[in-house]
Symmetry: C5
Subunit: 356 residues, 5 copies
C-alpha cells in the first residue's frame, strides 16, 4: 500500500456509485446460522435469494462475502438486508477510513485487516462489518482472511460466542482483526532490531530504503489503528443500544489492545528516526576512517618525496651529494621523519580505530 490508491468514483458521480473493476475477485458468499440453544448450520450460498430465508430464521446469522467483483450481486444482498446506498459504497470503494456509521436497520463498522505479505510489504484489506438485530454481514475485498479462528469457535460452541448473539459476534470479528496487528508489529520490531544491527555492522546504501520502508509501514499501521480506536471507542461509550453491556466489556478489551498497538507504533516511529540518524552517522564515520588512511599515508610520503626530489636535482654544486655518508644519512633522516609523524598521529588517536 505504498501508493495511496482509493477507488473513488469520478468527482461528481452520484453518491452510491460502486467502483468495481474487472480484476476484482468474484464474491464468494458463505453463511453460518446458530442459536443459543446450540444448533448450528453453515454453508455456501449459491443463490442470493436464499439469504432472505436465512435472515427470517431464528438465532443469529453471519453472512460473509469475500470478493466484491459483482455489482448486481452486491446490490441484491444490499437490498435483502436494507443496506443504505452510501453504506454499500463504503464497502466497495475501498479503502475507507475505519469508522462506525449508524443506520436505521444496522450499524456499519469499517475495519482494516493488516497482514505481512513479505518482510517489507504489508497486505492491507478492508473488512466491513454490518451489525443488525440478529445478523452480521461481513464484506471483504479479496478471498482469504484471518477470521478462521472465529469460525472454529462458532463450530465448537464453547465460550459465550453462540449465546451472546450478533453484537458479540461482531466483537469477536473486530477483536480478531485487531489481534492480527500484533504479529505485524512484532515483525516490524524485529526488522528495526535487525536494521540496527546491520547499520552498525555493515552500513550500506540499501539499508536506507529499508528504513524508509519501515517508516512507511508504520505510517500504514497508524493510519489503520488510530481511526480504529476512535471507532471502537465511540461504540463503547455510545448511548445507543447496539451493543449490550456484556459485549461492551469485551470490546473495551479490544480498545485496550488498540491503544497498546498505537503506543508501540508511535514508539517505533521514533526509533526509526533514531535509526536514520544512526545510519547517517555511521556512514559519516566510515568516511572518516577512509579519510584518515589517506591523510596518514599522504602526510608521511609527501614530505619524504620532497626530500628525495631535492637530491634528485642536477645542480652542479651540491656538496651533500658527494659526502661519504650523505646517502645513508638522508635515509636515516627520512626514517626519522616518518617515525616522528607516525608517533604524532598515534598520539592524536588517528591510528586507532574509533570504535574499537
Amino acid at each position: 500500500m505504498s501508493r495511496f490508491r482509493k477507488r473513488h468514483p469520478k468527482a461528481g458521480a452520484p453518491p452510491g456509485t460502486l467502483m468495481i473493476s474487472e480484476s476484482d475477485a468474484k464474491p464468494r458468499v458463505t453463511y453460518m446460522a446458530y442459536t443459543a440453544e446450540g444448533s448450528i448450520e453453515e454453508g455456501a450460498v449459491a443463490q442470493v435469494a436464499r439469504l432472505r430465508q436465512l435472515r427470517a430464521g431464528a438465532g443469529t446469522l453471519w453472512v460473509d462475502i469475500q470478493g466484491i467483483g459483482d455489482e448486481a450481486l452486491l446490490r441484491e444482498i444490499g437490498e435483502i438486508f436494507d443496506v443504505h446506498p452510501l453504506a454499500l459504497e463504503d464497502v466497495v470503494n475501498v479503502p475507507q477510513r475505519p469508522k462506525v456509521d449508524h443506520y436505521d436497520e444496522h450499524m456499519l463498522i469499517v475495519t482494516r485487516m493488516i497482514r505481512m505479505k513479505s518482510a517489507t510489504v504489508l497486505d492491507v484489506e478492508q473488512v466491513s462489518v454490518f451489525v443488525g438485530e440478529n445478523y452480521v454481514l461481513t464484506f471483504q475485498e479479496r478471498h482469504g482472511d484471518v477470521l478462521d479462528p472465529v469460525r472454529a469457535r462458532l463450530r465448537k460452541g464453547t465460550g459465550p460466542i453462540r449465546r451472546l448473539g450478533a453484537d458479540y459476534l461482531a466483537y469477536a470479528l473486530i477483536d480478531t482483526v485487531v489481534d492480527a496487528y500484533y504479529p505485524v508489529l512484532e515483525a516490524i520490531g524485529d526488522l528495526l532490531e535487525d536494521l540496527e544491527e546491520e547499520i552498525v555492522q555493515h552500513p550500506r546504501q540499501s539499508l536506507l530504503r529499508q528504513i524508509y520502508a519501515a517508516r512507511r509501514e508504520l505510517l500504514t499501521m497508524r493510519r489503520a489503528v488510530w481511526p480504529m480506536r476512535e471507532a471502537i471507542y465511540s461504540i463503547v461509550r455510545s448511548e445507543e443500544e447496539d451493543f449490550s453491556a456484556e459485549a461492551r466489556v469485551y470490546l473495551r478489551d479490544t480498545l485496550d489492545h488498540c491503544a497498546q498497538i498505537l503506543d508501540a507504533t508511535e514508539s517505533n516511529r521514533e526509533l526509526v528516526t533514531g535509526l536514520m540518524d544512526m545510519y547517517l552517522s555511521t556512514i559519516s564515520n566510515r568516511q572518516n576512517e577512509i579519510m584518515k588512511v589517506l591523510t596518514v599515508i599522504a602526510s608521511i610520503f609527501v614530505p619524504l618525496t620532497f626530500l628525495a626530489g631535492i637530491y634528485g636535482m642536477n645542480f652542479a654544486d651540491m656538496p651533500e651529494l658527494h659526502y661519504r655518508w650523505g646517502y645513508p644519512a638522508l635515509l636515516t633522516l627520512m626514517a626519522a621523519v616518518a617515525i616522528g609523524m607516525l608517533a604524532y598521529f598515534w598520539k592524536l588517536g588517528w591510528l586507532r580505530r574509533e570504535d574499537a
Copy 2:
C-alpha cells in the same frame, strides 16, 4: 499558489470593499431551475434583472457565476439575493479560508477547488456557495470548473438530486469539489514514488527542488482540507435547520472523505521528510564513493613515487644503483607494495561498491 497572495483591501479600507483587478475574468452567469416533479430549465443570464424573476419561481434554482471581474454586476446580484456586504467581500477577496457563515437569508460555504495544472503546480480556485431556502448561488474565480458532472446529473434527473432541493444540491457541489482532491493526491503520491526511484537511481540537485515543491503542494492541500473538514463538520453537527437530516447523511460521507484525504496528506508529508533524508544520504554516499577512488589511487601511488624518487637521487655513492638486479628488484618491491595495499583495501571493503 507558491507565493501567498490574497486580495486584501488596503489596511483600514471599509469592510465590504471589493478588490477587483483589470485582469479578472468577466462574469458569466448561467442558471438551472428544476422542480421535484421533473421539469428543468437552464440557460445563460444576459440581464441580471432576470434573476429576480427566476428567484421568485417555484422549485430549486442554481445560479452559477464564473469570473468576478465586474463589481457593478456582482453588487446587483448581491442585492437580488440579499447577500451581506461582508459575504460578498469573501466571494471576491480570495482566497478566503474555507468556512461556513450563517446569515439571515442563507448560509455561505467557502470551498477551495484544487486541480493539477502541471506535475508540480496546483491550480487553486475558490468556489463560494450560498445556500438559501430554494436556491444555490455559486461564485467562482475563473471560467471552467469541475462541476460538470453535477450539471449532467441534474439534466438526467436520476437519483435524489432533483427531489431533495437546495441543500442536497449544495452537498453535491461540495462533494464534487472534495472528490476532485483524490486525483491530486494520487498525482502527488505518484510524484513521491517517482522521486524515491530517481533518488536511488540518479540522485541530482534538481530533485531537491522537486521535493521542496511536493512539500509545498502538500501544505497547500492541508491548508485547503483542514478548514474544509471543520466547516463541513460544523454543518453536520449544527443544530440549525439549514440542512435536512437526509442531506446530512450524505454530507457525513463527504466528511469521511475529508478526513481520509487529510490522513493521506499528513502521511505524505512525513514521507517527504523521509525522502529528503534519503536524498541527503544518497548524495553523501556518492561523495563517499568518489572519495574512496581518490584514496585508493593516491594511497597506492604516493609511496611508489617516493620509492622512485629515492633512486632518482644523484648521490655519488648509492650502491643499489649498481647492483645487477637492483632495477628489477625495485620493480618487484613496488608491485608487492601495490598488491599489498590493494589487498588491504579489499579487506576493508573499499573496493566493493557499498550498495552492490
Copy 3:
C-alpha cells in the same frame, strides 16, 4: 524585536508601576468626536483636562495617545477615564501579550501592530484599545501608525462607521491592525521565494542568516497573531454585551483573517525548514563538485608522475632507457592511461555536472 525585551518593573515592585524611560516619545493626544447624526469634530488636546469635557459630550469619542513618555499625563488621562492601575500598567509596560481584559467601566484590548521596517526587520508596536460605553481610547508606543484610513473613513462618514458607535470603531481599529499583517506576510513570502532562487543560483553563507532572520520574523508574527485570535474569539463568543450583535458580525470577519494569517505563517515556517535543508544540501553539492575536480586531476596525474619517476631513476642498468622507441612508447602509454581513466570517470558520471 529580535531580542526579547519587555519593560518590566523590577521583580517585586508594586503592581501598577509604570516603566517609563527617558527615550520614550512624549505623548501627543488627539481626539475625534462624532455623532450618528453626522456632526464630527477633531483636534489636538493641549490640556488633558479638556478630555473630561469631551467625555461628557454626546456621541462617540475617540482619544488617541501616541507616545508614552509622560507618567503624570498618562495617570491623569487614566483618572479621567477610570482606568484601572493594572490596565494602565499593561499600556505602558510593553510588550504585553495581545489579550482582552474586562473592567467595570470598559474593556481593554491589547493588540500588536506589525510593519516592515526593512526587508529583514519588523517594526512591532503595541496598540492598546479601551472600549467604553461611548468612547474609545487608544494608546500607542510611538508616533505614527497604520490607522489613518480609519480617520479618513470617520471624516468621510460613509458606511456604518459613524452610526454604529464605540464598539464598531474598536472593530475598525482592530481590523486595520490585523489587515496590516497581510503586506508583512507577503513580504516574508517574497523573501522566502527569493531565498529559494538564491539558494539554487548562488548558495552562500550569508543566506543562512537571512533564513534564520525569516524564521525569527515568522516567530514574531505567530507570537502576535496567535493570542490576537484568541482575544478576538473571546469577544465574538463572549456573553457580555460589550459588543453589539452587528459589530460582532464584522469582528467575526477579522477573526477569519487572523486564522488565515496564522495558517499562512505556519506554512511559511515549514517552508523555512525546507529552505534550510535545501541550503545545506546545495552547499554540500557544491563541495561535491569541487571534490570531483580534485579527484579527477589527482587520480590522473598521480600515476603518470609515478611512471615519469620510474624512468628518472639512476639505475645503471635500465634497458628501456636505451630502446629506440622507449621515450615515445612511454608517452603513448601515459596518454593511454590518462584517456582510459577519463573514460572511466565519464562512465561513472563524474565529468558531467550533476544538475546540468
Copy 4:
C-alpha cells in the same frame, strides 16, 4: 524491553485465553492479613483453598502471587475472588497498558514496575493489583519485587497503613511502584551527563548506540508513565466509591509524582536529541581537524616538490644549475615559500585548534 513482545493469544482465540509458557516462573503465593486493631498474620499459602478461608476473615487481606506459570492455580485463585476472565487474561498476557478497569466485585489496576537491570537495560515487569472491599490481590510476572518496604510498614504498623484498609494498601503499593521510577530516571540522567562528557572528550562510534539506547529507555519510561498517570487520575477524579476520600488525598500525591516523572522524561528526550546533534557535530569537527593537517602538509610540500622537480630535469641548457649560488638560493626560496604559506595558514586560523 527493546523488542516489543506481548504475550498475545493467536488472533481469534476466545477472550480469556491465558498465554502461559514453559519458562514462566511457578507462582509463589503469600498473604498478609491485618486488622485496624493491630493484629497481623502472614505466611505462604500452600493450598490455594486456604485463600477462601482467609477471604472470609475479618480485617484486610493482601494476597501476593509472584510468577504466573500455572494456569490451573491462577484460575482457582480467580474463582475464589470472582475475577472476570478478561481480567485474568490481563494479568497473564503481559504487558498490558497500565489502566484501571472496574468490575462488579473489585477494580483492577494494571501497573508497570521498572528497575535498572544494567546501565543500558531496563527490567520491566507488570504488577496487577485487584482492589476489593477488604482485600488486595497482586499478581507479578516474576519472583522478586520492590514492595518489601510496604511489607515492612505493615509489620511495623506505624502510620495509617493498618487502619485505612484495602484502598490505602493499594495506594501504598502503587506509590511504591511509581517511586521506584525515580532511581531509574536518575540513572538515565547520569547516563546522559556522562554521554555529554564523553562526546566532548572522546567522541566515538560506540556512543551512538548508547545515545540510541537512552532514547529507547526513555520511550519505555514514557510508555509506562503516561497511561499510569491517566489511570491514577481516573481513580482520583472518579465518582465511584472505590477509594475513600482519605486515600485519594494520598493518591493525588502519587499523581503529582507521575506528572513530575513525565516532565523529566520529556525533558530528557529533548536532551537526547541535543546529544545526537552534538555527537554528529563533534565527529564532523574532528574530521575537520584531520582535513586541516592534510591540507597544510600537502599544500606546503606539493609546490616545493614541484620546484625540486624543475631542477631535476635533464635539459641540456639550464643555466641556473651552473650558477654558483643556485642550490643555496633555491633552498632559500623553498624555505621562504614554506614559511609564507605557514604564515598565511596561521592567519586563516588553521594552525590553531578550533576548540582550544
Copy 5:
C-alpha cells in the same frame, strides 16, 4: 539543575517521610505581622512556640522559613499551623512540580524561583507558600531570596498590600517569583544573540556546548513556568473562596506574565534549533573553504610536477632536452597551464570567498 535530582524517599517509605540531609541549611525563621490599620511588627523567631502566639494575633501574619535542615523544627511549625504531613513532605522533598493543593485549613502553592547563577547556570529553588485565613507561610530551600521588595512594600505600607490581607500577600509573593523570570529570560535571549554573532564570526566547537546549555536552561524554564501557569490558572478560575475577587484581578495579571514568559521560552527554543543548524552549516562552510585551498593548490601543481617529471627522465633519446629553447619553452608552458587553471577556478568562483 542539569541533572535531575529530586529528594525522594526510598521507594516504599511511608508518605510524609522528610528527606533532610546534613548539608541542608538550618532554618532561619522570621515573621512580619501587620494590620490594615497600619501597625506592623517584624522580627526573627528564636523559639518556634512563639509562632502559636503570633498566629492567634489580629491582622495578617507572614512567617518565612529559609532553610529546611531541621526536621524537628519543621514538624513543630507544621503542627502549629495544622500542616498536612503530605504538604510538609512537598515542602522538603524538593523539587516538586509547581502546583496548588487545597487542604482544610489552607492552600499550598508550590512555586519555583529561578535566578542566574552564572551565564550558563541557573539557580533553581522551591518556594512553598501556604495561604491560610489570616496568615501566609513560606518555606524556602536555602537562605537568600528575591522577596525583599515585598518586605520593603510591607514596611512602607503604600498600595493595597497591608489592607488586602493574606491572599493579596500570597499574590505579591508569587508575582515577585514570576517577575524574576524576566531577567533570566533576557539573559538567555542575550546569550542566544551573542551565540549567533559568535557562530558567524568565530565558529568553534565550544559554542556547541553553549548551545546545548541554552537548550537545557530553556527546558528548565519551561518545566517551571508551564505547571506554574496551570496552577495560577486554577486559582483564578477556582470556585473556592481562597482568593478574593480583588486579589484575583491581580493574579490574572501574573497569569498573563506566565503566558508571555512561556511564549518567549518556546520561541527561544525554536531559535536554539535554528542556531544549531546555523552552527553546523557554518562549520561545514569553513571546511569547504579549506577544501577549496587544497584543491586549487594540488590541482595546479600536480600536473606541473608531472611535466617536470617527464623531463627528469633519463631516456637516452629525448630530443626536447637538447633543443635550444626547450627549457624556457617548458617553463612557459607550465606558466600557461597554471594561469589557465587559475582562470578556470576563478570562473567557477572558487577563488572568491563565498560570503565575502
